[in-house]
């Protein structure tokens, strides 16, 4: 199917088409400013407990991509895969309205026309959907951001459906991870996937993120890897989200971004306003 399509044009033509896809640096320069080379084909994982701003960050990235160039956006398309009916369209529209200099229904609808949404109700459906979306990635060069919220939504259901063998339990997610890796590399996409912190912390762990000077250990980052190995290996960047509990009505958040190969750690602070995420 898709391989026939590729043979119809030469390899260089295809590369020329896909090269135009935005890199990570374009999508969020503040977060990825220290990337030396433009990164195409990256998988990033957002990890954190509830209420820490992961979904808001996804709205921020989506808004950056779908806004027109005249308003500071990238004017590219985004595909949002929602596995737990979490996506709030009205919130995204509020974020867009606040970021546009002149927000009208026309402009908003035009921006939203660059967003595609898919709802998946099981991990098997997610896998089959990824296969069927392959043609979409092939044929739409302006589609460069893939968002998956969240990858861990089917975790417990899969574990029970797989019976006693851990391999069987993880098999569908493993296939999804491998397929995602293949799609991201072949089509030079950027994938942001959220995973929820659903496991209890280990018994002796510190309370919150330590200061930037000491490297936070996995325990302090509240990270217990529970998804399959294939996924752990596919992720290039893992970003941990925290909420600051200093005062009752604070809306201060922070994130620690860890580049898995180089083990580089960076900490950023942000607040969430009506217009979405704002870095401090």
């Amino acid at each position: 199917m898709c391989s026939d399509f590729q043979r119809a044009e030469s390899g260089t033509e295809l590369l020329a088409r896909l090269e135009g896809r935005s890199s990570l640096k374009d999508i969020e320069p503040y977060l990825f400013a220290d990337e030396d080379s433009p990164v195409h084909g990256a998988i990033l994982e957002f990890h954190g407990p509830e209420g820490t701003g992961k979904t808001e960050m996804l709205y921020h990235l989506t808004a950056r991509c779908i806004l027109p160039k005249s308003e500071g956006g990238l004017e590219v398309e985004v595909l949002f895969i929602d596995t737990d009916y979490h996506f709030d369209m009205l919130r995204l529209v509020t974020v867009l309205e606040h970021r546009l200099s002149q927000s009208s229904e026309e402009v908003i609808k035009h921006c939203l026309g660059r967003l595609s949404l898919v709802y998946c109700s099981s991990s098997t459906q997610l896998l089959l959907t990824l296969y069927s979306l392959e043609t979409m990635f092939c044929s739409r060069p302006s589609l460069c951001l893939l968002i998956l919220d969240s990858l861990s939504a089917f975790y417990w259901i899969d574990r029970v459906n797989g019976g006693e063998s851990v391999n069987l339990q993880e098999s569908v997610l493993k296939k999804c991870s491998q397929l995602l890796e293949k799609l991201v590399n072949e089509y030079r996409l950027v994938l942001f996937a959220t995973t929820q912190s659903i496991m209890q912390r280990t018994a002796n762990s510190a309370e919150g993120p330590s200061c930037a000077s000491n490297r936070p250990s996995d325990a302090e980052l509240d990270y217990r890897p529970y998804l399959c190995k294939a996924w752990q290996q596919a992720v290039k960047h893992r970003i941990f989200f925290f909420k600051h509990d200093d005062s009752n009505t604070s809306n201060q958040f922070s994130l620690v971004s860890r580049h898995l190969k180089s083990n580089n750690l960076r900490k950023h602070f942000f607040i969430i306003r009506e217009s979405g995420v704002e870095f401090c």
């Binding site: 209420g51 737990d84 949404l117 417990w156 659903i198 009505t249």
Partner: protein
């Protein structure tokens, strides 16, 4: 979705199923992820037929992408914000309960969760003239209290009777009964064209802890899987039927820090879009019927804000002068 069998989709014959099965391709996923050229050679089936079959299976079983603009148009017309009937709570929730979302009320024993649910039922049934489904799992629903709330709103008995008819109460004391109930609900709503007495707008589950917490604990995964299945059913119910789902949850102590937190653990904490806490206010000057409401999770407002509500004046206009002197 899963095993390949004859007639699963057009073009899939029994012979094909047998041939594929003999080469280890038993499920839809196996076929879609296989190298079709190899399969065509090994099974003796035509490559073209396999490609066509794969395309049909994908079209049938994968999810279809929606365009953002179309979805926005649809949501603009179908989303409603329902006032809870309690002014300060509405303020905290950004005008009220949103349809298509799950809202959680969390609080300790006696904090007033059931009272809030009853008040919402009365207001939606009488003030907004819409139907309510109340799923009671811990026996807290009393018709006499609903009648009291309605009597405080209107002296007209016919209106009270009309409002009572719009509230349907069902009892579910374990999770399987609750899941069955939700399935039944989808069936009946699918069959009805439109009911003359209003449409279903609110589904209240009081409480979800009562049916889920017996399943949790220990190393059992089945309990967590059932809980996530219930969560999924509630969310799809809210989204597909355009209703506001309200659930109540208890509090437990965190085993490390000893602080109070909502029950049912981390996996459940991701499920509701909005969560607010009812707390008994302590200190001088606070009467027994006052409660502090604190917004703990919201998709559109900053959290941490608090409002005071008074249980005694619920169900009535809060500025009603004759009742403020009466309540104990």
């Amino acid at each position: 979705m899963g095993v390949l069998r004859a007639g699963l989709c057009p073009g899939l014959t029994q012979d094909m199923v047998q041939l594929l099965r003999s080469r280890g391709i038993k499920t839809v996923v196996d076929l879609v992820s296989a190298d079709l050229e190899e399969v065509a050679q090994k099974c003796g089936l035509s490559y073209k037929a396999l490609v066509a079959l794969r395309r049909v299976l994908l079209a049938q079983f994968s999810a279809f992408p929606f365009n953002g603009a179309d979805l926005y148009e649809e949501l603009k017309t179908s989303t409603a914000i329902l006032s809870t009937g309690i002014g300060s709570l509405d303020k905290l929730l950004d005008a009220g309960l949103y349809t298509g979302e799950v809202t959680e009320i969390v609080g300790g024993p006696g904090s007033g969760k059931t009272q809030v649910c009853l008040c919402v039922s009365a207001h939606v049934a009488h003030g907004l003239q819409q139907n309510v489904l109340y799923i009671d799992s811990n026996g807290g629903f009393t018709a006499s209290r609903i009648l009291q709330l309605l009597q405080a709103r209107t002296p007209d008995e016919e209106e009270q009777a009309g409002a009572l008819q719009r509230i349907q109460v069902v009892r579910a004391f374990d999770i399987f009964q609750m899941l069955d109930m939700i399935q039944d609900l989808r069936g009946t709503v699918a069959q009805q064209v439109s009911s003359s007495s209003g449409t279903l707008k609110v589904v209240i589950v009081d409480s979800v802890t009562a049916v889920v917490s017996p399943l949790l604990g220990g190393q059992q995964r089945e309990g967590l899987a059932l809980m996530m299945q219930l969560a999924r059913e509630l969310k799809t119910l809210a989204r597909d039927l355009g209703v506001a789902v309200v659930v109540t949850n208890h509090m437990t102590r965190d085993r490390d820090t000893g602080k109070l937190k909502p029950a049912l653990g981390r996996s459940w904490s991701f499920v509701p879009s909005t969560r607010f806490l009812l707390d008994v206010t302590k200190g001088t000057g606070a009467s027994d019927s006052q409660r502090m409401v604190c917004l703990m999770k919201s998709p559109r407002l900053p959290t941490g804000f608090q409002e005071m509500v008074d249980l005694g004046t619920w169900g009535t206009s809060e500025q009603s002068p004759q009742l403020q002197g009466d309540h104990t």
